[in-house]
């Protein structure tokens, strides 16, 4: 059983060059239960990435705390796998070596590493590319490898920071289906940050809408669409209805950002 608790977590970036300190995140509470797929939706600058980085341990909260199964998060660790928006594969390692990176750090033997890596390679559809370098892969393939790399550690929770943000629409849709397929099969706890409304609904069991300046949780919407979901669900009336509602929520936030810019 995995429970992630975010309790009164806020983040203020200190003043710089005479500017006032920036309040990126208002005190925020959020609890994510076992096998939850939670998407955080918000316009850029709403602190959603900051929140995710705090959960990952890459940033420290100004106040509040994050606990995973009761243990406070004080730094990054293998129990929270992370996939970044930018391509962060190690360019000097092959696909298989990239996926096995975390396993090797933890001292898993080579045979065992390769077994786990090869199983994941099949799962994300990269068979035949085991020995390719990241430079030889397309953006979508690089992100598949990054997801496999994060999964290789068998983390309690998978954190994704707009992982498909840099991909074209067609590739993005395929990647969403692939990720959802993995979740439906293996039941993972997932926290997924995005600014794409359709993506947030299609993937999530729960959508957390964040407001901008200062960043805080504005609404929480349950997505009761049945699983397994295929791309066809995006044209059903239920999906469209949810989308309309979220479009309104996000639009007011985007307007606020535009006015302050």
């Amino acid at each position: 059983m995995t429970t992630l608790r975010i309790e009164q977590v806020s983040r203020t970036f200190p003043a710089r060059h005479g500017n006032a300190p920036t309040r990126a995140l208002e005190p925020t509470d959020l609890t994510i239960g076992n096998n939850d797929f939670v998407t955080i939706l918000g316009p850029s600058g709403c602190g959603k990435s900051t929140l995710l980085r705090i959960v990952a341990g890459l940033d420290r909260p100004t106040s509040g705390r994050v606990t995973l199964d009761g243990r406070e998060v004080t730094g990054p660790g293998a129990d929270r796998g992370m996939v970044f928006q930018s391509y962060t594969l190690f360019p000097w390692l092959t696909v298989r070596e990239n996926i096995a990176f975390g396993l090797r750090e933890r001292g898993v033997a080579q045979d065992e590493r390769n077994k786990i890596a090869d199983a994941l390679i099949r799962q994300v559809g990269l068979s035949g590319f085991e020995n390719h370098w990241p430079k030889q892969l397309s953006g979508g393939m690089q992100q598949r490898t990054a997801i496999a790399r994060a999964l290789a550690n068998d983390p309690k929770i998978l954190l994704l920071d707009e992982p498909f943000g840099a991909l074209d629409n067609q590739t993005r849709a395929l990647m969403q289906e692939m990720l959802l397929g993995i979740w439906e099969r293996d039941q993972k706890t997932v926290l997924f940050v995005t600014h794409d409304i359709e993506e947030a609904i299609f993937l999530g069991s729960r959508v957390i809408v964040m407001s901008a300046r200062p960043g805080r949780i504005k609404a929480e919407i349950n997505v009761d669409l049945p699983h397994p979901r295929s791309y066809k669900i995006k044209t059903t009336p239920e999906f469209v209805q949810l989308k309309e509602r979220l479009v309104e929520e996000i639009r007011t936030e985007a307007l606020k950002v535009a006015e302050h810019a």
């Binding site: 992370m82 190690f90 975390g102 430079k135 994060a150 550690n153």
Partner: protein
């Protein structure tokens, strides 16, 4: 010709070779045509003759060997100390804050100006030559390696942390491999500079080496030998550069993929 239009590799070789031909042609015209006095500049034919004489009768190969050994020795010494220090400086900011101001200052101390001091301290033996090259290269390498390691992509470091890497793991498995090709390039570049220092070191208080031969020839006004010596240095430099490049390409295939 259009801006940034590529050339084929055949054309590249042909153009590169053409300039050498042009260069020798101009040189021949100036010397063989009698436009420049023989005292100041030997003609290409005399140069080749003198070169043959040097190699066949005056044991010039031994001088070349000595010079190469000094460059490689002094440079290896510098690299062994500078690369780890540079990596430490790049990885740990307090170490950088501690050493960077001094290294930046020391980098501007001209190695050739140390020669009189080094003769005083180490005599005119091999150690003094090695030290000149060492002083000339070590600070440059430290600083450039520190900058390279410090500029490692932050997102790669963060990704490694989220995969469970320890601080040591970050250095061993992210900072080092990601900087390794740049470090190899830095060494290639500084090796070229080391060649300048060795000749200067050999011009003063030396009894062997290419630089020593050049000073000797100056006393005899033998410009043919001087030019031959300079050309040999250029050729060795070119060769070591090519070897270094090939070695780097072999070592880091993922860069070319």
């Amino acid at each position: 010709m259009r801006p940034l239009d590529p050339v084929t590799s055949k054309q590249r070789v042909a153009y590169g070779f053409a300039f050498f031909v042009l260069f020798v042609a101009l040189w021949s015209w100036a010397t063989l045509g009698g436009h420049v006095s023989k005292t100041f500049l030997a003609n290409p034919l005399t140069m080749v003759q003198e070169g043959y004489d040097l190699l066949a009768r005056q044991g010039f190969l031994y001088d070349i060997g000595m010079t190469i050994w000094r460059v490689v020795g002094g440079f290896a010494l510098a690299a062994i100390i500078a690369v780890p220090l540079g990596v430490l400086m790049g990885a740990y900011k307090p170490v950088e804050a501690f050493l960077e101001p001094f290294v930046s200052f020391a980098r501007y101390l001209p190695a050739s100006a140390f020669i009189p001091l080094l003769i005083l301290w180490a005599g005119i033996g091999e150690l003094q030559k090695l030290l000149v090259i060492f002083i000339g290269s070590v600070f440059q390498v430290i600083l450039m390696v520190a900058v390279t390691v410090g500029a490692t992509r932050r997102d790669l470091v963060e990704a490694a942390y989220t995969l469970g890497a320890s601080d040591r793991g970050i250095i061993r498995r992210v900072l080092l491999p990601s900087s390794a090709p740049e470090i190899a390039e830095i060494l290639r570049l500084v090796l070229g500079w080391a060649w300048t220092y060795v000749i200067v070191a050999e011009l003063i208080g030396s009894s062997s080496g290419i630089g020593h031969m050049i000073t000797d020839s100056q006393a005899l006004l033998n410009t043919g030998q001087i030019i031959f010596g300079i050309i040999v240095i250029g050729l060795i430099g070119l060769l070591s550069d090519l070897l270094f490049k090939a070695f780097n390409a072999w070592l880091f295939p993922w860069r070319l993929a």
